[in-house]
Amino acid sequence: MDFRAGDSWGIFAFLCAALWNLPAVPALNNTDEAGAGQSIQKTYDLTRYLEHQLRTLAGTYLNYLGPPFNEPDFNPPRMTRAEMVPSATVDFELWRSLNDNARLAANYRAYTHLLCYLRGMDGQVAKADLRKSLGHFCSSLQGLVVSIAGVMSSLGYPLPGSLGSTDPAWAHGPGPISPHNDFLKKMDDFWLLKELQTWLWRSAKDFNRLKKKVPPAAVTLRLEAQGF
């Protein structure tokens, strides 16, 4: 996972653009059709920024967990408890055929839950500077959730139901954390970070598709909703 100076510069630009626009994101919660394309672009930029931020954060956090979690080839099997974290993995044909509403809703649900788990993780970290980084990341992730919500409402889609509705098991939060099995808890953290990383990669591709469907100069969006 290396990136060149060019990528750093680009990320820096996204950082500034994203942070500058974050306070304005709630204001996107309107039915301005022309704004949909731009907010999709902003959401895309946010996912790229977050993906970059996560690389640093995950590296530090896995070192904090210690071996084997910070070993590059560490490839453990998924355990049932870890399946509570929403997975980005999807059948290729299914992913391709998702309509815009479903695509956005999947992203929205995933990040809402990931944010919740991440906040749970935040509370237990012993190191202060790591807690601070986690806290900062959570704020940025919150910004992403709001941004996705903005896109959905500007396209006229309803936001998915809140936690505790008819969603699958993982919708009900992290569940009781066993204080006895430290290793299992670390495994959960490992999978959470992995799933978050994968979701950010997936979201870049999701929003690329959305960008094509909803160009900045958007036409009648009701038609779009019924089309693909």
């Binding site: 790229r48 993906e51 999807v90 997936r202 870049a204 690329n208």
Partner: protein
Amino acid sequence: MQMANPVPSACCVVLAAVVVVYAQRHSQQDTRVQYERIGADVTMKCGAMDWDAAVTWTVNGSDIDESHLNGSYLVLRNVHLGHSGQYSCYEGSSWHLKYQTSLKVGTPPKEPVLMCRSNNYPKRFYCSWHLPSPTYIPNTFNISVIHGTREMVCEKEAVPKNRCHIRYLQLFSTVKYKVTLTVTNALGRNSTTITFDEFAIVKPDPPENVVAKPVPYSPRRLEVRWNNPSSWPDPESFPLKFFLRYRPLILDQWQHVELSDGTSHTITDAYAGKEYIIQVAAKDNDIGTWSDWSVAVHATPWTEEPKYLTTEAQAPETTTSSTSSFVPPPTTKICDQEKVVGSGAVAVSWAAGLVLAAAGVLFI
């Protein structure tokens, strides 16, 4: 010598044929292939013959010196590749073939080199392998691809032989792929394993049909166009970004431009009149690594055509424009078309002429 009588002669012929067939069949039972390591000591026994039997050994039809014999056993010490061949053992007097073997000298396989890559994400990825050094004997390769709990089938390709491909069934997987290649031959086996994330092996092919052209009336510009690699299946959903590098042939330092969309770019800082070499590389916008550089293209920015002058006094000037230097082309050719008012005024009218020409081009 018996002669003339045909019946006994015919019997002899038939008998000889039977003996030959019998001997051949017998020898075929004893023909085998024997693999030995380079540097080993090899002892060959002459079939079921006793140690003290009188035999003759040959290799590829040539007799082997008795110094290599230990009784009826053939002893080859510290064998090397030159020892490979067909070894035969004949009973001393009757010259019956008693034993035959094809000796092949080689080595057990070293650890193979394995790599996997996806140049057509998200359709498939392929794995290819080779041995770092030859074994000189036949090898078989066996590849296994494990993704989480599932073993995937890697479909072998006819050409090239040491490659197979796997279709992505799921995208955005958090579980790594684990690929193991085992090489086996008669002298041993070896294997290697690599693990990777779905995203890490994405590397497109280089851009295709790179074309660079001068821009008329722009002495410092070059227009570069290219196509997405044809192997990339879905540039709409998985857009590529590009990296362009260029330099004049006479310099070693490249200049770089990264382009996040579009398949064309105009270089605006080319040195006038210099031939440039240009290459483009591609990468998925978000994941994986850069492709190799495309085939290099050459182009020279537009320069004004030297006008062949009629006046003798100015004829020599036209030859200076072909020297390799950073001096802009001489302007006397233009000046001679303007009215000669004074050097300063000449410069102004030259600039005015260029502006008018550019405006004229724009309106055409």
